[in-house]
């Protein structure tokens, strides 16, 4: 039972955006997708979400191709946070999160408990009655995280395996909120929600993720546990950077810092 990508290839015109992608995501894992700008991270996430169709290969959830699910079935199995989520009309933060429950049949008090749970996971409960349009970029990002989480939790049939696909979920957050948010995502993975997140901070990815996928020019250049994946050679190859590699004092996870050439 997993979210599985097999022999995936995506090309637009003559340009090949992704090829030979094989990833398996268990529903209790936190998977980080890393790679340079334009490596195909967002394309990969869009294809996993079912927003774009692959040119060949397949994406399946629980051994069933995602295009065999209806939009509403799929919405119960996976939720997606795109890079940008804009709103052009005024709506309170709690109403934005409540949008995730639009299609569910929960009663008001169930809804209320769920909203409180999801919003407190991402530290946005105190913003509940503020207009979303007046929130800062980081606050909006956390409200959206609460929304996609609420979408999964609104499926009362909890024995199903569920997945959360996040495109740069912490890009606008301050350090404290980055840690808090990654903790919250890690907790979700422990509770049985498979998390796939595009991340840019390699040290945070190394600390929090169970499994890392490194993309380079649309191909997987390495994947495995942070210890297997993060080393001088792989980073030189994927990002063209020279780094000092160290171990995190608490967890021994790989920890990098750039080399400075005088």
């Amino acid at each position: 039972m997993s979210l599985r990508i097999e022999n995936l290839r995506v090309s637009v015109g003559n340009k090949c955006l992704l090829s030979d992608i094989n990833i398996e995501c268990q529903s209790d894992r936190f998977i980080g997708v890393i790679g340079a700008n334009g490596a195909g991270k967002s394309t990969l996430l869009n294809v996993m979400a079912g927003l774009n169709a692959p040119s060949s290969g397949s994406v399946s959830i629980d051994d069933k191709d995602i295009f065999e699910y209806s939009a509403s079935q799929l919405a119960k199995l996976r939720a997606v946070l795109p890079q940008h989520s804009d709103l052009s009309f005024p709506l309170n933060a709690i109403e934005v999160v409540r949008l995730a429950l639009s299609l569910s049949s929960m009663n008001v008090s169930q809804q209320h408990d769920l909203l409180i749970d999801c919003m407190s996971r991402f530290n946005v409960l105190h913003l509940a009655n503020q207009n979303y349009l007046t929130l800062s970029g980081g606050e909006r990002q956390r409200v959206q995280l609460a929304r996609v989480t609420a979408q999964l939790f609104s499926n009362q049939n909890h024995q199903e395996h569920q997945y959360l696909l996040l495109d740069e979920p912490i890009s606008a957050l301050d350090l404290y909120q980055q840690y808090q948010t990654l903790d919250a995502l890690k907790l979700l993975a422990k509770e049985g929600v498979g998390v796939v997140a595009v991340l840019h901070d390699l040290n945070l990815a190394s600390l929090y993720c169970d499994h890392l996928v490194v993309l380079k020019h649309g191909c997987i250049s390495a994947q495995g546990s942070p210890k297997q994946v993060i080393n001088e050679n792989s980073l030189k190859s994927a990002f063209n950077i020279d780094v000092w590699l160290q171990a995190h004092p608490d967890t021994q996870a790989p920890f990098i810092t750039p080399r400075i050439s005088q």
């Binding site: 919405a75 709103l87 109403e95 949008l99 639009s102 008090s109």
Partner: protein, 365 residues
């Protein structure tokens, strides 16, 4: 944290109830508007008249003799008021749904050219039917229906044309949307002008009516045709309120949340074409109702379509009844075309909205 949670739980649970005052105000406003609409007019001003007439019509006060003024209230003012409620509600809901679908506060059936497209269809049908009915008199009684169908088709063509012109790569371009509306509007006016040139005196009067809008042709018959069509269409839009809500977050988000976005957009465009086409066929172009009404509601509440659709219908109905009553009373016994009145109020509102959006988004039109 604990105290935080308690206060927030109170607020969050309060939300559905906090919408009740607005709802009550709107119901009251609609009722008062209808009452005024039935009471005031060129023939006689009397605030008790509607009640006396209703009591008589339902047989409460034992009188069976219908006085002349009661006849006016029952057979002229009352259907006209109901027509205004229906058309106002339809135009407002159309505007609200288009704004949600385009994720843009400037969408409105008249600004996007859907109304004038419907008018072109209607005018073309009047022109054709005059020639046709002369040849085949048996067709004459389908006249009103043929005009409605032509108007719906005209509305559908312009709705889809504007929609596809403005959409590039899944995103709505605001300037393109408005420019497409301007282009379609001027094309429609040119076409109507062409028919104008060819038309005889009687057709000319009818054509002018489409361009200015009027509820003067209302009768119980037209109400009975409009009511099921517009009622059904409004209900269909209300049924899609959750989908419109989710589309506010963008099409990708809506799709991931379980909405079949392409199907919903197609359905909404057709429903809007139906609403605007039928409304225009019976009352001509009444501009700006669809733009102004949802915005007034957003000032006092928010954009949640769970409530916005119903509230828009009530406020749109009430405003059009008031506007129609004003158009009958201001220059009594003559009538001001209602389209002029709504444009006089709506156009400055639209300009204010443009200035506000220009400031907020920093885009240059």
């Amino acid at each position: 944290m604990a105290s935080n949670q308690i206060s927030l739980s109170a607020v969050a649970l309060e939300l559905p109830q906090s919408r009740r005052p607005l709802f009550i105000v709107l119901v009251a406003l609609l009722f008062i508007a209808c009452w005024l609409g039935a009471s005031l007019g060129a023939a006689k001003f009397d605030l008790f008249l509607p009640f006396e007439t209703l009591a008589m019509a339902l047989g409460f006060n034992g009188e069976t003799e219908v006085t002349g003024i009661q006849n006016i209230v029952l057979n002229i003012r009352l259907p006209r008021v109901l027509m205004a409620v229906l058309v106002g509600a339809a135009l407002a809901v159309s505007g609200a749904s288009l704004q949600g679908m385009c994720r843009n506060p400037l969408a409105d059936p008249s600004l996007l050219g859907i109304s004038s497209g419907a008018a072109v269809g209607a005018v073309a049908m009047i022109f054709i039917s005059q020639k046709l009915f002369l040849m085949i008199p048996a067709l004459a009684h389908i006249g009103p229906y043929a005009i409605s169908i032509a108007a719906v088709l005209g509305a559908a063509i312009t709705a889809f044309a504007v929609y596809h012109l403005a959409q590039t790569g899944g995103q709505f371009q605001v300037p393109t949307l408005l420019l497409a509306g301007v282009a379609i509007n001027s094309l429609s006016i040119a076409l109507i002008g062409g028919f104008n040139y060819l038309a005889d005196d009687q057709a000319l009067r009818q054509i002018t009516f489409w361009l200015m809008g009027s509820l003067g042709g209302s009768s119980w018959k037209s109400v009975s045709i409009l009511f099921p069509i517009l009622g059904l269409a409004l209900w269909m839009i209300h049924k899609r309120r959750h989908a419109i809500n989710l589309m506010l977050l963008g099409e990708a988000n809506a799709r991931c949340s379980g909405i079949d976005v392409d199907r919903i957009k197609l359905e909404l465009l057709w429903i809007n074409a139906l609403i605007v086409g039928v409304a225009v066929a019976f009352t001509g172009i009444i501009a700006f109702v669809g733009l102004v009404v949802p915005h007034i509601l957003r000032l006092y509440s928010d954009t949640n379509y769970r409530y916005l659709i119903i509230n828009s219908a009530m406020l749109g109905g009430a405003l059009l009844v008031l506007a129609d009553t004003a158009s009958r009373v201001i220059a009594a016994p003559a009538e001001l075309p209602i389209g002029i009145l709504t444009s006089l109020i709506g156009a400055p509102f639209f300009i204010a909205l443009l200035i506000k959006q220009k400031r907020a988004l920093g885009f240059v039109l």
